[in-house]
């Protein structure tokens, strides 16, 4: 386990480093001049030269890369072109909103997806199982931003049950929760379907095993068997999947934040893209990518801890 953990953590660090290099390299790999893209077609050569000097784009690539690394590892992630604030400050202000939104999305998935999967497994082969299977596939397939738009249209605009925009009054928990319901549902719906499928499949597998048959032979109630013995095992595979799921949920969160005009990393990076503010874009992308890599790492380590067979695969 120690060897596996060390190798897995090492791999995560290498990948994060490569991601940093790629983000830097993208400025040079992609065709076109960053100064022209940032300043638009009307910029004069003098303005472009001044922009390059200010961003350090006129220095040799090696020096720029070292500067870039030092900016990343100093922790301030560079300076915002417009507000002159540290990018790290801006990102850290926005990030908690996104983390809360993502976690609530997972919450929907756990609260609805796991019971639905169990229920399907216990009613295997009935038409209700079939319907829940179709629902699960549909929930996975439908794009989360369409769910967000339709939820906004139905529950906020047409019915006026829930607030449409923003994250709610600071310090007012009820208001903030009300603002969280629709966006977290929109990003979590796909995972409700995904977890339902996964739990159904693993529940069927677990229910076929010997210790469950033994429990049944002892005359334990079906309810007790499922809740006390089977569910614990059936939920294990979802842990590994949720780690990868964080990445998808983050993508969904970007759209949900824009549709519901919520503050957060997604809204931040979107606004920065619109204003061509590359330091803020690369800073936010770097932080979210690192977060994603750490979540995948955590999920892999937990999966290896739970299941020794995983350790052998790296």
């Amino acid at each position: 386990m120690l060897l596996y953990s060390a190798r897995r953590i090492g791999l995560a660090l290498v990948i994060i480093l490569c991601a940093v290099a790629l983000l830097f390299g993208m400025i040079y790999l992609v065709p076109g001049d960053p100064a022209s893209v940032a300043l638009g077609p009307l910029a004069t050569p003098e303005i472009k030269a001044a922009f390059r000097a200010r961003m350090g784009l006129d220095k040799p690539i090696a020096i720029q890369f070292v500067t870039f690394l030092s900016i990343v590892f100093s922790g301030d992630l560079g300076i915002d072109v417009f507000s002159n604030r540290k990018v790290s400050e801006i990102v850290l202000e926005a990030l908690p909103y996104t983390i809360v939104l993502t976690a609530s999305g997972i919450g929907w998935a756990i609260v609805l997806g796991i019971p639905l999967g169990c229920w399907s497994a216990l009613h295997r082969g009935t038409w209700l199982d079939r319907v829940s299977g179709i629902f699960a596939v549909a929930a996975i397939a439908v794009p989360s931003f369409v769910v967000a738009l339709y939820a906004l249209l139905v529950f906020a605009v047409a019915l006026n049950w829930l607030p449409a925009i923003g994250a709610g009054e600071p310090g007012h928990l009820g208001d903030q929760l009300a603002h969280l319901v629709l966006p977290s549902f929109a990003i979590g719906l796909g995972w409700v379907g995904y977890l339902a499928r996964l739990v159904r499949a693993s529940m069927l597998e677990v229910l076929g095993e010997n210790h469950i048959r033994t429990a049944r032979a002892f005359g334990l109630s079906e309810r007790r068997i499922v809740l006390r013995y089977a569910l614990k095992l059936a939920v294990l595979p979802t842990v590994a999947v949720l780690g990868i799921g964080i990445g998808h949920l983050l993508s969904g969160a970007v759209f949900a934040e824009i549709v519901f005009a919520r503050p957060g990393a997604g809204k931040l990076v979107y606004d920065a893209v619109v204003t061509r503010n590359y330091p803020v874009v690369s800073g936010t992308v770097l932080v979210t990518t690192t977060l994603f890599a750490l979540c995948t790492l955590a999920a892999d380590l937990i999966a290896a801890w739970l299941d020794p067979r995983v350790r052998a695969s790296l």
Binding site: V30, P143, L149, E205, S251, V269, A272
Partner: protein, 292 residues
Amino acid sequence: MSAPVFDHIPIVAARGSTWRRLLADPLGRFGLALVFAIVLTAVLADWIAPYNPTRIAIPEKLSGPSLSHFFGTDQLGRDVFSRVVVGTRIALEVALVAVTLSVIIGGVLGLVAGYGPRGLDNAIVLVFDTVRSFPTIMFALALVTLIGPSLQTVIVVIVASFAPGYGRLVRTQTLSLKQAEFVFAERALGAGAARILAVHILPNVIGPLLILASMDVPVAITIEAGLSFLGFGVRPPTPSWGTVLNDGYAFIGNTPWIILAGGLPLVLSTLGFTFLGEALRDAIDPRLRKDP
């Protein structure tokens, strides 16, 4: 005890072609019908659309659904139905081009990584893992900031998010096939790497690759529509489901039909392709099925 749980191993029909198994599945039939309708709409878009999708008619702007405008008109008086119909073509074109490119790039890199020397293998796998470590949308936004929004940007984003997964699949299969006896035999007969890869390994890895790729078509459609919705994909005035949604979002308070019209084909096509993809996977190779 409500249902027997000992028979959960899928029972594969011994007889019957893939096609028959596909049609035996109601969801497969439903998916096939939806996909057929969508492809037909894309091909016949110019005949189906009652108006030119970019025709501006300010006096008719934001009018509700009627017999002359099934889905109403947008803020410039353009016919939303025509925009959605012609948008089908953009959606399918982007998905088809991007998924094909991903299959080629991922496939070739996967073959090289799996068959080539260890060092090259490690390097390619590291590139795959690095590109995959970005959440798709974040990678897309970084790229858009640098090269600006366009259809090509959308395709690059889709290829970057699909190709590493395809490459990993092909690599794993190639690694195990490399040790197969028929490959040893071929090598003993003096066949070169290119011949072994093209004639013996490729046909064995292409099946699972194509199944995976077919299931990614709806994801590609979603990425195009999503980026276009954000204003980072298809450039105006070209109609796309994403840009229709974006127009509708701006007027969500008083003209809900634009959002409804823009989202509907997206929902139908992702459902159609997903149902078809799942049924196809089960029909071709039931062992790949994730849930029994």
